[in-house]
Subunit: 276 residues, 2 copies
DNA sequence: TGGCTTCGGTGCGCTAGCGTACACAACAAG
DNA sequence: CTTGTTGTGTACGCTAGCGCACCGAAGCCA
């Protein structure tokens, strides 16, 4: 459980283990981010000089109430968005990887974050400063449209998680969580402690231990201290509640449209340049 | 519990009781909606002819998957946004009254609703058709800005509810729910069955009964079949978890800004007309 | 090597909330 | 007034998950 007295306790608890994580020193290209990749080339080129590379270190947090509302396009790593309750407990209600962007809500409202952002898996991102983002946004171009469309993804996800919290067993939710983590990581091995999973799900660490024990017994995963290797993805999906699939398909539905739009735009762009 | 076999079971169960509810036949003015009211006068005037009055009857639902993505600005009544799970259980994760608008998410994404909309309390709304809304939106005027700012409200609310579902007792959640209902209704009496409250919270009807029993024993409410009269609002707030206050203050924070902006714009508008 | 810290596994009693079942009260329609 | 329907109150056993406590194992640092 996260301690009440300070948000930093979470930071403290999880930061040090960063040492044991191989931090990808390789600076990844912005188009590793699926949203940036979906931009038509001319828009993308124009945006490039505005983007600033940042590394995400585990435990890095954007505290609720921060007034900055920069956008961060993830190229790798995993960031969770969580609420801390007055009783010291936490729940993460959305997870973002290289398919998305962090900071949309505070960017739209201009009001600063209402939730904590926790880096669960180290990685890197490209920052678009709030003022530049605002200017881009007001051009009302493809980027603006893309961001607005993307907005629906966290909304769906959070709502589904709320319902999932209510109605599905911890066993099922662990599966959901492992799968969504797996989707955002290059290998089949998750580098995370059970204790942190518990904090993210908002359940006891012991509960996670037994649930994961069952999964290993069933041969779906292999676990070591601080690691979970997935052996049978389909098996996990079978044990999982529908929530994982719903959230994922919602995103894919939206994103497929983006890809189509991008192709179309790129074709028309290259046609235009042929005529120029 | 909502039955699995059909969304309509919910409809069926709750529709007929509409007869016993006095449906406000009075057609309310659009500016009863706080977002429309926050528009500067010239914008508001321009928008008026585009708005179409609709009544919301209890049980009216916009099914998940519907392709229409019109906006509905509520002037009265209460609409909940809920997920139906495969196991037939439901949870509402956001509630909207005359402070907000329905259909933002599907409007932004253009993808249709991902959740069900349930009318909990009858009322009326003004519809802005999706195509007109899109055109308005692309003017990038005050309305667009307002809508984007408003977006953050349901996001915060849903996230808070997700955490609340996990960590707070049914007793506390009932208080939260009654309060948020009360905020959106003219009198101190809620016209709703315990069974429907249970569906919205995603808990058993019996659980609601005992929780409400405690509240009446404590003298905070008085209850009749299908009615809950709130006698001691402060008492409810004291028993409630922090979630209610957090969501509410988030909205007020955003909305206060809007009111300020509106005053400023109206002053500059009237100044402009003086010079014209 | 030994000592320290963090992580993970296990057991036990407890409680909130679930599922089920049933009875009664309020209301509607005839 | 009768009859059917829907909403509400109550009770009882069950289970998932909690809180707590403790111990061993893995890794870190010297």
């Amino acid at each position: 459980m996260l301690e009440h007295h300070s948000v930093h306790s979470c930071l403290d608890r999880h930061t040090h283990s960063a040492k044991s994580w191989r931090v990808a020193s390789l600076e990844q290209a912005p188009e590793q981010n699926r949203l940036l990749a979906a931009l038509p080339v001319n828009e993308y080129q124009r945006l490039l000089p505005l983007l600033e590379h940042v590394s995400l270190l585990p435990g890095w947090m954007n505290h609720a109430g921060d007034q900055r509302s920069d956008l961060h396009f993830l190229t790798s790593g995993i960031v969770a968005r969580a609420h801390l309750m007055q009783n010291g407990k936490a729940t993460a209600f959305a997870v973002t990887g290289n398919e998305g962007v962090i900071g949309i809500a505070s960017f739209l409202s201009g009001l600063g974050l209402t939730s904590e952002m926790v880096v669960l898996s180290p990685g890197s991102a490209y920052r678009l400063r709030a003022d530049l983002a605002r200017r881009e946004f007001e051009r009302h171009g493809v980027l603006a449209d893309l961001l607005l469309r993307y907005c629906v993804t966290p909304i769906t996800e959070i709502g589904q998680n709320a319902a999932c919290n209510r109605h599905h067993s911890v066993d099922q939710q662990i599966c959901r969580w492992i799968l969504s983590f797996l989707d955002r990581v290059p290998s089949n091995e998750l580098i995370i402690t059970q204790s942190l999973i518990a904090d993210m799900l908002g359940v006891r660490r012991e509960g996670v231990t037994v649930a994961i024990g069952k999964l290993e017994k069933a041969g779906l995963i292999h676990r070591r201290r601080g690691h979970i290797a997935v052996l049978d993805r389909a098996g996990l999906e079978a044990r999982c509640c529908e929530c994982y699939a719903i959230v994922r398909s919602q995103y894919e539905r939206g994103f497929r449209l983006e890809v189509i739009a991008r192709d179309r735009l790129q074709r028309s762009a290259s046609r235009a340049s042929r005529f120029a």
